[in-house]
Symmetry: C2
């Protein structure tokens, strides 16, 4: 299992809509997360930023992430316009990966 | 079980020391985390901020947090001077709580 922590900015005017979507996520989104081997997935908000944490239990992360994007295409059409990558994101990076500095089970 | 996501700033000049401490955490710190009913505890770093995620499995959070502070007093003498609360933290708040906007197991 591999843990991921990521960050992205949220447009202030889109925060309410983003929260509303995530308060009642579409069943196909939950199904996609599950089928793509992502577990214990949380998103937090504070001060204009969104932080995600999840655990990946599969063995082909890139393929599963591509599959998840495909399966959640319609959902991402709603959520992507709410978000803006952080200034320091790599070219093409959407949610930017954070560095794990500590973990204990 | 209740999940917590928190954020705090790290002083740039203290980042290396903070990472070094957390790469080889003191055994008494791990013991304290465990005895105080905190599980699956991660800290991430990006762009001057630290983000923590953990799961609390006990039934008296405030008492366990006080106990953990007491048990990790010497460790906190090392880590606290590395950190600065975010501008929007409440009075007296150290790590500032983030708002959970999504979760799926």
């Amino acid at each position: 299992m591999k843990r991921y922590g990521k960050v992205i900015k949220i447009k202030p005017e889109k925060l309410d809509y983003y929260k509303k979507l995530h308060a009642e996520p579409w069943p196909e989104v939950i199904k996609a997360i599950n089928e793509c081997n992502v577990r214990n997935f949380s998103i937090y908000f504070r001060d204009g930023y969104l932080y995600s944490y999840y655990e990946y239990i599969g063995n082909n992360y890139d393929a599963d992430m591509r599959k998840m994007s495909e399966m959640t295409k319609e959902w991402l059409k709603e959520t992507n316009p709410c978000q803006v990558p952080v200034e320091t994101a790599k070219k093409g990076e959407w949610w930017a990966e954070m560095e794990e500095v500590f973990h204990t089970d």
